[in-house]
Amino acid sequence: MGEMEQMKKEAEALKTQIEAARKAAHDTDMASAASGVAPAPRVQLKTRRTLKGHLAKIYAMHWCTDNRLMVSASQDGKLLIWDSHTGNKVNAVPLKSSWVMTCAYAPSGNLVASGGLDNMCTVYNLKTPVIKTVKELDAHTGYLSCARFLSDTEILTSSGDTTCALWDLETGKQKTVFLNHVGDCMCLSLSPDMNSFVSGACDSLAKLWDIRDGQCKQTFQGHTSDINAISFYPSANAIITGSDDCTCKMYDIRADQEVICYQDAALNSGVTSLDLSASGRLIFAGYDDFNCNIWDSLKGEKVGELKEKKKSLSWREC
């Protein structure tokens, strides 16, 4: 038997063992465990602000840690910084490449980043008298799908080249490259303690990584199509994913498996974005049919929706 064939057999055997280990840990499911929990009330959303200013499709947005400022990225070639309380634009950052797919706000509020089909992550300093480009992070060989700052000196990126990377912002070089996905990486989410992150990819898998040693610690399967959105639970013990297979799933990190799927026969559009309420009880998921559904994360039922009139929701953040 050739070496490749032998390795494939070994891989299959290991996967079977992993599945068996998961089954052995599966002595109850979410439905039983949450049976005593009262259902979440129906949620009615009220539009409080409509932020107008972009001239083309908005691909991404990200809140600043002050819960007041936010950055949005549009294919009109601009990043806009908004004060969400007043609705005013605070800054406009012109982009070299208008094919932007992601943007991020640093926890300090000093920096923002953007990237997209230029395969680069560009970092800007908002605090200099005139907004300056501080670094162009250039090493990915595919589009930049997501970026998240750990601090003013480190940023994580995910790319269509199937890798994620941790960059040193002082040198502009990659410190760690995370290799394991075999499809375009579409999204990432940092753990609250910033020691790990999860990524979702077009190979329909979500992976949990140790930021410092660069290793893939766990792989979460179950989706049957691209994972477009992913989020760590605030408790750090679970993750939520949203996929082109029209479902969202919760994976319990400690049990290493899917524990509940959020789906409805009437829903036949892919999930493009998602976020969680402060307690994690509510999941806000944006779909390709221009709608946003609100799910009770413990009961698996829809408790509300937000029907947008025009465009597919690209990002929702609470």
Binding site: M7, I18, T28, A33, V182, Q215, C216, R281
Partner: protein, 71 residues
């Protein structure tokens, strides 16, 4: 697209096998322990969740505090 092993070259396949060996070692917690603890965490936090506790929503920065100002 679901993951297909046939698309990997020899080095990628070796890395894939090594990674699976590592991932197999993970110490899995029983769902009867993990899920109730997760549910408990969520329920405790619901008091601070503006979408679920109307009292927290009273401090809503996006609501106009008053329409008229006396000058």
């Amino acid at each position: 697209m679901v993951f297909q092993m046939d698309e990997l070259d020899e080095t990628q396949l070796k890395n894939h096998v090594d990674s699976l060996k590592q991932q197999l070692q993970f110490n899995r917690e029983k769902t009867s322990v993990a899920i109730p603890e997760l549910a408990k965490w969520i329920e405790e936090k619901m008091n601070e969740d503006p979408f679920l506790n109307p009292d927290v929503l009273k401090d809503n920065p996006w609501v106009e505090s008053s329409k008229c100002v006396i000058i």
